[in-house]
Symmetry: C2
Subunit: 131 residues, 2 copies
DNA sequence: CCTTGACCTTCCAGTGACTGGAACCTTTAT
DNA sequence: ATAAAGGTTCCAGTCACTGGAAGGTCAAGG
């Protein structure tokens, strides 16, 4: 497969695949006589793995670890589970931070008329007049 | 005030204040004879406004709009409220995406032994074997 | 007078994970 | 012959800083 086809099949832009290669997340692809990159089913499988992990919020660095574990038939499942649980904790922290932001902004908007008048407690509060 | 003091008072690193100036978020500060930047109470007030808005997840571009509205005594409060409500919607989208990630990862971990054995449904699922 | 240290200045480079675009080559179809 | 669609490389930009180098300024202490 050329890069375009594997990109379509894996759901990852061709440009991004070249980027993954450049940063060493995937090994350098084999080349055809014309210099085009050539991908196998295994490469496609790996790219799909990466795509799914990225969707789930894993960083490229974390995916490197995950890929090493995936390829290592002797890995311990606890190593994988630890990464997943840490990611859940991180997601929960992010959600909590966003909930706090949301509550605060909602609170600000609650007292703003939202009409043609200039009076706006949102700006006053952002300025620190109210906290 | 020198940049260090206004930085402490506003809760924004000096480096970040110079950055804000360089990207035009704040006007170029007045300079003393020795070339040091000099800040007024108004500048401090603006920096605090920016700090608080950043904490609440507003981008620098959005803060530019908010600052323009803040300075404009004839603004309509609906313009401010619209930005705030759009931000709430954006935060809600982010939270929903994170919740989906969390549910999926939690689901993956639920079937992984997490022990010394290599068998790991997390990796199998990431690879697409199960979805 | 000299030094030390804290503060200030500028500018350049790096972060994460791409993405856009230029300039060019190859293949396929018309 | 030519055009379109694919491929190649490399450089620059995104966002909001942050780190660091190399140097100027200021107040206090010996």
């Amino acid at each position: 497969m050329n890069i375009g086809e594997v990109a379509t099949q894996a759901g990852v832009p061709a440009k991004t695949i070249r980027y993954y290669e450049s940063v060493g997340l995937i090994p350098a692809a084999a080349r055809r006589g014309n210099g085009y990159r050539s991908y196998s089913q295994t490469d496609l499988h790996t790219l799909r793995f990466i795509h799914r992990a990225r969707e789930l919020g894993f960083s490229v660095a974390e995916i490197e670890d995950l890929l090493a574990l995936w390829r290592n038939k002797r890995r311990k499942s606890q190593a994988v589970k630890a990464i997943a649980l840490a990611k859940i904790a991180e997601i929960e922290r992010k959600i909590a931070a966003l909930e706090t932001m949301k509550r605060t902004i909602r609170h600000l908007t609650a007292h703003c008329h939202g009409d043609a008048r200039p009076d706006c407690p949102i700006l006053d509060d952002l300025a620190g007049d109210g906290g």
